[in-house]
Protein backbone atom coordinates (compact mmCIF):
# COMPACT_ATOMS: atom_id res chain seq x y z
CA UNK A 1 0.00 0.00 0.00
CA UNK A 2 2.80 2.35 1.02
CA UNK A 3 6.43 1.73 0.17
CA UNK A 4 8.98 4.15 1.50
CA UNK A 5 12.40 3.67 0.02
CA UNK A 6 15.58 5.38 1.21
CA UNK A 7 13.75 8.57 2.12
CA UNK A 8 15.88 11.61 3.03
CA UNK A 9 14.52 14.88 4.31
CA UNK A 10 16.69 17.83 5.32
CA UNK A 11 15.79 21.24 6.66
CA UNK A 12 18.75 23.31 5.59
CA UNK A 13 21.77 21.36 6.75
CA UNK A 14 19.79 19.39 9.34
CA UNK A 15 18.84 15.84 8.25
CA UNK A 16 15.52 14.99 9.90
CA UNK A 17 15.01 11.71 8.04
CA UNK A 18 18.09 9.85 7.01
CA UNK A 19 17.61 7.06 4.49
CA UNK A 20 14.36 5.76 5.92
CA UNK A 21 12.71 2.68 4.38
CA UNK A 22 9.59 0.77 5.37
CA UNK A 23 6.45 -0.74 3.83
CA UNK A 24 2.87 -0.67 4.98
CA UNK A 25 0.41 -3.41 4.00
CA UNK A 26 -3.13 -2.60 2.87
CA UNK A 27 -5.40 -2.32 5.88
CA UNK A 28 -2.51 -2.29 8.29
CA UNK A 29 -2.70 -0.10 11.40
CA UNK A 30 0.68 1.36 12.18
CA UNK A 31 1.72 3.30 15.29
CA UNK A 32 4.75 5.57 15.12
CA UNK A 33 6.26 6.37 18.50
CA UNK A 34 9.46 8.00 19.64
CA UNK A 35 10.92 10.97 21.43
CA UNK A 36 10.14 14.56 20.50
CA UNK A 37 11.93 15.70 17.37
CA UNK A 38 12.54 12.20 16.03
CA UNK A 39 10.77 12.96 12.76
CA UNK A 40 7.37 11.28 13.23
CA UNK A 41 5.34 14.30 12.19
CA UNK A 42 7.66 14.88 9.27
CA UNK A 43 6.90 11.47 7.81
CA UNK A 44 3.17 12.04 7.92
CA UNK A 45 3.56 15.53 6.43
CA UNK A 46 5.61 14.13 3.59
CA UNK A 47 2.98 11.50 2.88
CA UNK A 48 0.35 14.24 2.83
CA UNK A 49 2.63 16.23 0.43
CA UNK A 50 2.85 19.11 2.92
CA UNK A 51 6.65 18.92 2.72
CA UNK A 52 8.84 18.12 -0.22
CA UNK A 53 11.40 15.33 0.00
CA UNK A 54 15.15 15.68 -0.37
CA UNK A 55 15.84 12.24 -1.78
CA UNK A 56 14.36 8.75 -2.10
CA UNK A 57 11.07 7.33 -3.36
CA UNK A 58 7.57 6.83 -2.03
CA UNK A 59 5.06 4.55 -3.68
CA UNK A 60 1.37 4.76 -2.80
CA UNK A 61 -1.30 2.37 -4.13
CA UNK A 62 1.14 1.34 -6.81
CA UNK A 63 2.06 4.81 -8.04
CA UNK A 64 5.06 6.98 -7.29
CA UNK A 65 4.06 9.89 -5.01
CA UNK A 66 6.79 12.40 -5.77
CA UNK A 67 7.78 11.18 -9.20
CA UNK A 68 6.04 10.53 -12.47
CA UNK A 69 6.86 9.18 -15.91
CA UNK A 70 7.16 11.53 -18.82
CA UNK A 71 8.44 10.35 -22.19
CA UNK A 72 9.62 7.20 -20.50
CA UNK A 73 11.78 9.14 -18.01
CA UNK A 74 11.21 9.66 -14.32
CA UNK A 75 10.66 13.34 -13.51
CA UNK A 76 9.54 15.15 -10.35
CA UNK A 77 5.77 15.09 -9.95
CA UNK A 78 3.83 18.15 -11.03
CA UNK A 79 0.87 19.65 -9.16
CA UNK A 80 -1.66 17.67 -11.23
CA UNK A 81 0.01 14.40 -10.30
CA UNK A 82 0.17 15.36 -6.63
CA UNK A 83 -3.49 16.35 -6.77
CA UNK A 84 -4.41 12.93 -8.11
CA UNK A 85 -2.27 11.12 -5.52
CA UNK A 86 -3.60 13.17 -2.61
CA UNK A 87 -7.08 11.79 -3.24
CA UNK A 88 -5.89 8.50 -1.71
CA UNK A 89 -4.80 10.10 1.54
CA UNK A 90 -6.52 11.85 4.43
CA UNK A 91 -4.92 13.49 7.46
CA UNK A 92 -6.08 14.58 10.92
CA UNK A 93 -3.96 17.22 12.62
CA UNK A 94 -2.96 17.79 16.21
CA UNK A 95 -4.67 21.19 16.25
CA UNK A 96 -7.71 20.12 14.18
CA UNK A 97 -7.25 22.94 11.61
CA UNK A 98 -10.97 23.18 11.01
CA UNK A 99 -12.09 26.07 8.81
CA UNK A 100 -13.32 28.53 11.44
CA UNK A 101 -15.55 30.51 9.08
CA UNK A 102 -17.60 27.50 8.01
CA UNK A 103 -20.18 25.43 9.88
CA UNK A 104 -19.42 21.86 10.90
CA UNK A 105 -21.44 20.53 7.97
CA UNK A 106 -19.71 22.86 5.51
CA UNK A 107 -16.33 21.81 6.83
CA UNK A 108 -17.15 18.26 5.88
CA UNK A 109 -18.89 18.87 2.56
CA UNK A 110 -16.55 21.52 1.16
CA UNK A 111 -13.92 19.19 -0.25
CA UNK A 112 -16.24 16.50 -1.71
CA UNK A 113 -18.26 19.16 -3.50
CA UNK A 114 -15.24 21.04 -4.80
CA UNK A 115 -12.76 18.26 -5.53
CA UNK A 116 -15.03 15.37 -6.51
CA UNK A 117 -18.00 17.31 -7.82
CA UNK A 118 -20.31 15.43 -5.46
CA UNK A 119 -23.80 17.00 -5.63
CA UNK A 120 -24.49 19.07 -2.54
CA UNK A 121 -27.45 16.97 -1.37
CA UNK A 122 -25.47 13.77 -1.59
CA UNK A 123 -22.43 15.29 0.11
CA UNK A 124 -24.61 16.52 2.96
CA UNK A 125 -26.31 13.18 3.40
CA UNK A 126 -22.93 11.48 3.60
CA UNK A 127 -21.65 14.15 6.00
CA UNK A 128 -24.61 13.55 8.29
CA UNK A 129 -23.81 9.84 8.31
CA UNK A 130 -20.24 10.62 9.29
CA UNK A 131 -21.37 13.04 12.00
CA UNK A 132 -23.68 10.32 13.26
CA UNK A 133 -20.72 7.98 13.40
CA UNK A 134 -18.59 10.42 15.43
CA UNK A 135 -21.62 11.22 17.60
CA UNK A 136 -22.09 14.82 16.58
CA UNK A 137 -25.16 14.79 14.37
CA UNK A 138 -26.72 17.53 16.50
CA UNK A 139 -23.77 19.89 15.91
CA UNK A 140 -24.04 20.05 12.12
CA UNK A 141 -24.86 23.75 12.10
CA UNK A 142 -22.48 24.83 14.86
CA UNK A 143 -19.28 26.75 14.16
CA UNK A 144 -15.98 25.17 15.20
CA UNK A 145 -15.51 27.87 17.84
CA UNK A 146 -18.62 26.61 19.64
CA UNK A 147 -17.23 23.11 20.05
CA UNK A 148 -15.02 21.59 22.73
CA UNK A 149 -11.60 20.30 21.71
CA UNK A 150 -12.77 16.70 21.59
CA UNK A 151 -15.72 17.61 19.42
CA UNK A 152 -13.49 19.61 17.08
CA UNK A 153 -11.20 16.67 16.65
CA UNK A 154 -14.11 14.34 15.89
CA UNK A 155 -15.30 16.77 13.22
CA UNK A 156 -11.78 16.83 11.79
CA UNK A 157 -11.87 13.05 11.55
CA UNK A 158 -15.22 13.16 9.78
CA UNK A 159 -13.85 15.76 7.38
CA UNK A 160 -10.92 13.56 6.45
CA UNK A 161 -13.19 10.53 6.03
CA UNK A 162 -15.58 12.41 3.75
CA UNK A 163 -13.10 12.11 0.90
CA UNK A 164 -13.01 8.31 1.34
CA UNK A 165 -9.24 8.04 1.38
CA UNK A 166 -7.57 4.65 1.39
CA UNK A 167 -4.90 5.83 3.82
CA UNK A 168 -5.52 7.89 6.96
CA UNK A 169 -2.80 9.75 8.86
CA UNK A 170 -3.29 10.80 12.50
CA UNK A 171 -0.74 13.12 14.11
CA UNK A 172 -1.06 13.26 17.89
CA UNK A 173 -4.74 13.84 17.53
CA UNK A 174 -5.36 13.88 21.26
CA UNK A 175 -2.39 15.74 22.62
CA UNK A 176 -4.06 19.17 22.43
CA UNK A 177 -7.08 17.92 24.36
CA UNK A 178 -8.02 18.08 28.02
CA UNK A 179 -7.53 14.61 29.56
CA UNK A 180 -11.24 14.14 30.06
CA UNK A 181 -11.90 14.77 26.38
CA UNK A 182 -9.31 12.34 25.09
CA UNK A 183 -11.50 9.30 25.56
CA UNK A 184 -14.27 10.34 23.17
CA UNK A 185 -11.80 10.81 20.33
CA UNK A 186 -9.98 7.56 20.95
CA UNK A 187 -13.31 5.72 21.03
CA UNK A 188 -14.15 7.04 17.57
CA UNK A 189 -10.76 5.97 16.28
CA UNK A 190 -11.04 2.49 17.74
CA UNK A 191 -14.39 2.00 16.04
CA UNK A 192 -12.92 3.25 12.82
CA UNK A 193 -9.99 0.86 13.06
CA UNK A 194 -12.30 -2.05 13.78
CA UNK A 195 -14.92 -1.30 11.15
CA UNK A 196 -12.94 -0.27 8.07
CA UNK A 197 -10.09 -1.74 6.14
CA UNK A 198 -8.41 1.63 5.66
CA UNK A 199 -4.67 1.74 6.07
CA UNK A 200 -3.85 3.90 9.09
CA UNK A 201 -0.70 5.61 10.37
CA UNK A 202 -0.86 6.97 13.87
CA UNK A 203 1.64 9.17 15.68
CA UNK A 204 0.94 9.30 19.40
CA UNK A 205 2.30 9.62 22.88
CA UNK A 206 -0.59 7.59 24.29
CA UNK A 207 1.18 4.27 24.62
CA UNK A 208 -1.91 2.55 25.97
CA UNK A 209 -3.86 3.51 22.92
CA UNK A 210 -1.04 2.60 20.55
CA UNK A 211 -1.02 -0.79 22.16
CA UNK A 212 -4.71 -1.42 21.56
CA UNK A 213 -4.88 0.19 18.16
CA UNK A 214 -1.85 -0.92 16.21
CA UNK A 215 -0.93 -4.07 14.34
CA UNK A 216 2.65 -2.93 14.31
CA UNK A 217 4.64 -0.31 16.23
CA UNK A 218 7.61 1.61 14.82
CA UNK A 219 9.93 3.22 17.34
CA UNK A 220 11.81 6.18 15.90
CA UNK A 221 14.79 8.09 17.05
CA UNK A 222 16.75 10.74 15.20
CA UNK A 223 15.00 10.08 11.91
CA UNK A 224 15.63 6.32 11.85
CA UNK A 225 13.65 3.28 12.87
CA UNK A 226 15.32 1.93 15.99
CA UNK A 227 12.99 -0.98 16.54
CA UNK A 228 9.71 -2.32 15.17
CA UNK A 229 7.33 -5.14 15.85
CA UNK A 230 3.91 -6.04 17.22
CA UNK A 231 2.86 -3.89 20.20
CA UNK A 232 3.14 -6.76 22.68
CA UNK A 233 6.78 -7.14 21.88
CA UNK A 234 7.70 -3.45 21.75
CA UNK A 235 5.91 -2.49 24.94
CA UNK A 236 6.54 -5.59 27.06
CA UNK A 237 9.85 -6.69 25.79
CA UNK A 238 11.76 -3.98 23.94
CA UNK A 239 15.10 -5.12 22.63
CA UNK A 240 16.91 -1.82 22.22
CA UNK A 241 18.31 0.21 25.07
CA UNK A 242 16.92 3.45 23.56
CA UNK A 243 13.40 2.04 23.42
CA UNK A 244 13.62 0.80 26.97
CA UNK A 245 14.73 4.16 28.37
CA UNK A 246 12.05 6.00 26.41
CA UNK A 247 9.30 3.74 27.73
CA UNK A 248 10.66 3.95 31.26
CA UNK A 249 10.40 7.73 31.23
CA UNK A 250 6.92 7.70 29.80
CA UNK A 251 5.79 5.27 32.46
CA UNK A 252 7.39 7.26 35.23
CA UNK A 253 5.46 10.28 34.01
CA UNK A 254 2.25 8.52 34.92
CA UNK A 255 1.14 7.00 31.63
CA UNK A 256 -0.07 3.51 31.41
CA UNK A 257 1.34 1.31 28.65
Amino acid sequence: MIRIDNLVKSFGTFKVLDGLSFDVMPGEKLALIGPSGSGKTTILRILMTLESISDGHIEICGDQLYHMQRNGREVPADEAHLHKMRSHIGMVFQHFNLFPHKSVLENITLAPILTKGTPRAKAEARAMELLEMVGLADKADARPAQLSGGQKQRVAIARALALQPRIMLFDEVTSALDPELVEEVLLVMKRLAAETDMTMLLVTHEMGFAHEFADRVLFFDKGRIVEQGPPEQIFSNPREERTQSFLRKIIAAGHRV
Binding site: R45, M48, T49, L50, E79, H83, R86, S87, I89, G90, M91, F93, H95, N97, L98, F99, P100, H101, L110, A111, L114, T115, A145, R159, A160, L163
Partner: protein, 219 residues
Protein backbone atom coordinates in the same frame (compact mmCIF):
# COMPACT_ATOMS: atom_id res chain seq x y z
CA UNK B 1 -9.01 89.24 16.61
CA UNK B 2 -12.47 88.47 17.82
CA UNK B 3 -14.52 85.42 16.97
CA UNK B 4 -17.36 86.48 14.67
CA UNK B 5 -20.36 84.17 14.43
CA UNK B 6 -22.03 86.12 11.65
CA UNK B 7 -18.91 85.61 9.59
CA UNK B 8 -18.95 81.91 10.38
CA UNK B 9 -22.44 81.53 8.93
CA UNK B 10 -21.50 83.62 5.94
CA UNK B 11 -18.59 81.40 4.93
CA UNK B 12 -20.20 78.09 5.87
CA UNK B 13 -21.62 77.29 2.39
CA UNK B 14 -18.24 77.83 0.75
CA UNK B 15 -16.52 75.60 3.27
CA UNK B 16 -19.16 72.93 2.90
CA UNK B 17 -18.57 72.95 -0.85
CA UNK B 18 -14.88 72.36 -0.08
CA UNK B 19 -15.77 69.58 2.33
CA UNK B 20 -17.85 67.89 -0.35
CA UNK B 21 -14.94 67.91 -2.77
CA UNK B 22 -12.60 66.66 -0.05
CA UNK B 23 -14.88 63.71 0.64
CA UNK B 24 -15.20 62.96 -3.06
CA UNK B 25 -11.44 62.95 -3.60
CA UNK B 26 -10.92 60.80 -0.52
CA UNK B 27 -13.40 58.18 -1.62
CA UNK B 28 -12.16 58.01 -5.20
CA UNK B 29 -8.55 57.83 -4.05
CA UNK B 30 -9.52 55.10 -1.57
CA UNK B 31 -10.95 52.99 -4.37
CA UNK B 32 -7.76 53.45 -6.39
CA UNK B 33 -5.65 52.57 -3.34
CA UNK B 34 -7.70 49.45 -2.62
CA UNK B 35 -7.45 48.10 -6.15
CA UNK B 36 -3.91 49.18 -6.93
CA UNK B 37 -2.77 47.88 -3.54
CA UNK B 38 -4.10 44.45 -4.39
CA UNK B 39 -2.20 44.57 -7.68
CA UNK B 40 1.00 45.52 -5.85
CA UNK B 41 0.47 42.77 -3.28
CA UNK B 42 0.01 40.19 -6.03
CA UNK B 43 3.01 41.44 -7.99
CA UNK B 44 5.12 41.22 -4.86
CA UNK B 45 4.20 37.56 -4.48
CA UNK B 46 4.99 36.94 -8.12
CA UNK B 47 7.20 33.99 -8.93
CA UNK B 48 9.25 36.18 -11.22
CA UNK B 49 12.07 37.48 -9.04
CA UNK B 50 12.60 40.66 -11.03
CA UNK B 51 8.91 41.59 -10.91
CA UNK B 52 8.69 40.93 -7.18
CA UNK B 53 11.89 42.85 -6.42
CA UNK B 54 10.97 45.73 -8.71
CA UNK B 55 7.56 46.08 -7.12
CA UNK B 56 9.06 46.04 -3.67
CA UNK B 57 11.61 48.72 -4.58
CA UNK B 58 9.01 50.92 -6.23
CA UNK B 59 6.72 50.60 -3.22
CA UNK B 60 9.50 51.52 -0.87
CA UNK B 61 10.40 54.55 -2.95
CA UNK B 62 6.84 55.78 -3.04
CA UNK B 63 6.43 55.19 0.67
CA UNK B 64 9.68 56.95 1.52
CA UNK B 65 8.98 60.21 -0.29
CA UNK B 66 6.41 62.90 0.46
CA UNK B 67 3.06 62.81 -1.26
CA UNK B 68 3.29 66.56 -1.84
CA UNK B 69 6.33 66.18 -4.04
CA UNK B 70 4.76 63.26 -5.86
CA UNK B 71 1.71 65.38 -6.59
CA UNK B 72 3.90 68.13 -8.02
CA UNK B 73 5.49 65.55 -10.22
CA UNK B 74 2.26 64.11 -11.52
CA UNK B 75 0.68 67.47 -12.13
CA UNK B 76 3.54 69.64 -13.34
CA UNK B 77 6.12 67.25 -14.78
CA UNK B 78 4.09 64.52 -16.46
CA UNK B 79 2.63 66.96 -19.05
CA UNK B 80 6.15 67.28 -20.43
CA UNK B 81 5.87 63.69 -21.60
CA UNK B 82 2.38 64.22 -22.89
CA UNK B 83 0.34 63.03 -19.90
CA UNK B 84 -1.96 65.87 -18.92
CA UNK B 85 -4.32 64.92 -16.17
CA UNK B 86 -7.05 67.20 -14.81
CA UNK B 87 -6.23 68.38 -11.30
CA UNK B 88 -8.84 66.23 -9.60
CA UNK B 89 -7.77 63.11 -11.44
CA UNK B 90 -4.10 63.81 -10.78
CA UNK B 91 -4.91 64.16 -7.11
CA UNK B 92 -6.91 60.94 -7.01
CA UNK B 93 -4.18 59.01 -8.80
CA UNK B 94 -1.38 60.51 -6.74
CA UNK B 95 -3.07 59.81 -3.42
CA UNK B 96 -4.34 56.44 -4.60
CA UNK B 97 -0.90 55.33 -5.68
CA UNK B 98 0.73 56.58 -2.48
CA UNK B 99 -1.72 54.77 -0.27
CA UNK B 100 -1.74 51.67 -2.46
CA UNK B 101 1.72 50.95 -1.10
CA UNK B 102 0.17 50.93 2.37
CA UNK B 103 -2.86 48.83 1.50
CA UNK B 104 -0.58 46.33 -0.22
CA UNK B 105 1.09 45.79 3.15
CA UNK B 106 -2.28 45.31 4.79
CA UNK B 107 -3.24 42.67 2.25
CA UNK B 108 0.07 40.91 2.74
CA UNK B 109 -0.24 40.88 6.52
CA UNK B 110 -3.86 39.75 6.30
CA UNK B 111 -2.90 36.80 4.16
CA UNK B 112 0.09 35.89 6.29
CA UNK B 113 -2.04 35.97 9.40
CA UNK B 114 -4.14 33.07 8.21
CA UNK B 115 -2.56 30.21 10.16
CA UNK B 116 -0.37 27.76 8.26
CA UNK B 117 -2.63 25.00 9.46
CA UNK B 118 -5.41 26.33 7.23
CA UNK B 119 -3.26 26.01 4.12
CA UNK B 120 -2.31 22.53 5.18
CA UNK B 121 -5.87 21.48 5.93
CA UNK B 122 -6.87 22.72 2.49
CA UNK B 123 -4.10 20.68 0.97
CA UNK B 124 -5.00 17.61 3.00
CA UNK B 125 -8.58 17.84 1.73
CA UNK B 126 -7.10 18.10 -1.74
CA UNK B 127 -8.44 21.55 -2.68
CA UNK B 128 -6.76 23.19 -5.66
CA UNK B 129 -4.83 26.45 -5.22
CA UNK B 130 -7.74 28.47 -6.56
CA UNK B 131 -10.25 26.71 -4.33
CA UNK B 132 -7.97 27.23 -1.35
CA UNK B 133 -7.85 30.98 -1.98
CA UNK B 134 -11.54 31.39 -2.67
CA UNK B 135 -13.01 29.15 0.00
CA UNK B 136 -10.44 29.12 2.78
CA UNK B 137 -7.91 31.96 2.72
CA UNK B 138 -9.74 35.04 1.49
CA UNK B 139 -12.81 34.61 3.72
CA UNK B 140 -10.49 34.48 6.71
CA UNK B 141 -7.97 37.11 5.63
CA UNK B 142 -10.36 39.90 4.70
CA UNK B 143 -12.34 40.63 7.88
CA UNK B 144 -9.32 41.52 10.02
CA UNK B 145 -8.09 43.85 7.28
CA UNK B 146 -11.19 45.97 7.25
CA UNK B 147 -10.46 48.08 10.34
CA UNK B 148 -6.89 48.68 9.19
CA UNK B 149 -8.02 49.73 5.74
CA UNK B 150 -10.60 52.05 7.27
CA UNK B 151 -7.79 53.64 9.24
CA UNK B 152 -5.96 54.49 6.05
CA UNK B 153 -9.15 55.93 4.63
CA UNK B 154 -9.18 58.39 7.51
CA UNK B 155 -5.51 59.17 7.03
CA UNK B 156 -6.18 59.97 3.37
CA UNK B 157 -9.00 62.26 4.33
CA UNK B 158 -6.62 64.25 6.48
CA UNK B 159 -4.02 64.55 3.75
CA UNK B 160 -6.33 66.08 1.16
CA UNK B 161 -5.11 69.64 1.96
CA UNK B 162 -2.01 68.73 -0.03
CA UNK B 163 -4.14 68.87 -3.14
CA UNK B 164 -4.27 72.65 -2.93
CA UNK B 165 -0.76 72.53 -4.39
CA UNK B 166 -2.24 71.19 -7.59
CA UNK B 167 -5.18 73.62 -7.63
CA UNK B 168 -7.90 71.34 -6.29
CA UNK B 169 -10.31 73.54 -4.38
CA UNK B 170 -10.78 71.21 -1.42
CA UNK B 171 -11.68 72.21 2.11
CA UNK B 172 -8.34 73.72 3.13
CA UNK B 173 -7.95 75.60 -0.13
CA UNK B 174 -11.45 77.01 0.13
CA UNK B 175 -10.70 78.11 3.66
CA UNK B 176 -7.52 79.86 2.56
CA UNK B 177 -9.30 81.54 -0.29
CA UNK B 178 -12.06 82.73 2.02
CA UNK B 179 -9.48 83.93 4.49
CA UNK B 180 -7.62 85.89 1.86
CA UNK B 181 -10.74 87.50 0.56
CA UNK B 182 -11.90 88.78 3.93
CA UNK B 183 -8.59 88.95 5.78
CA UNK B 184 -9.97 86.89 8.61
CA UNK B 185 -8.13 83.69 9.34
CA UNK B 186 -9.11 82.40 12.74
CA UNK B 187 -12.67 81.46 11.81
CA UNK B 188 -12.08 79.58 8.55
CA UNK B 189 -9.02 77.74 9.84
CA UNK B 190 -10.70 76.81 13.10
CA UNK B 191 -13.73 75.58 11.21
CA UNK B 192 -11.51 73.42 9.04
CA UNK B 193 -10.01 71.99 12.22
CA UNK B 194 -13.47 71.37 13.63
CA UNK B 195 -14.58 69.66 10.43
CA UNK B 196 -11.57 67.40 10.48
CA UNK B 197 -12.00 66.60 14.15
CA UNK B 198 -15.72 65.94 13.75
CA UNK B 199 -15.14 63.65 10.79
CA UNK B 200 -12.44 61.77 12.57
CA UNK B 201 -14.43 61.38 15.78
CA UNK B 202 -17.31 59.99 13.73
CA UNK B 203 -14.91 57.65 12.00
CA UNK B 204 -13.42 56.54 15.32
CA UNK B 205 -16.87 55.36 16.37
CA UNK B 206 -17.31 53.75 12.98
CA UNK B 207 -13.92 52.07 13.35
CA UNK B 208 -14.80 50.68 16.76
CA UNK B 209 -17.90 49.15 15.22
CA UNK B 210 -15.83 47.62 12.43
CA UNK B 211 -13.29 46.30 14.90
CA UNK B 212 -15.96 44.76 17.06
CA UNK B 213 -17.58 43.20 14.01
CA UNK B 214 -14.51 41.99 12.13
CA UNK B 215 -11.45 42.37 14.31
CA UNK B 216 -12.10 39.42 16.52
CA UNK B 217 -13.30 36.94 13.94
CA UNK B 218 -9.83 35.81 13.06
CA UNK B 219 -8.69 33.35 15.66
Amino acid sequence: MEWDWAFVWQIMPTLLAGLKLTLLVTLLAAVVAAVLGLALAILRRSGNRAVARGTAALSEFIRGTPLLVQLYFIFYVLPDIGIRLPALLAGVIGMGLHYATYTAEVYRAGIENVPRGQWEAARATNLTMRQTWVHVIVPQAVPPMIPVLANYLIAMFKETPLLSAITVLELMNQAKSVANTYYRYIEPMTLVGVFFLAMSLVSVVFLRVLEARFGRMAK
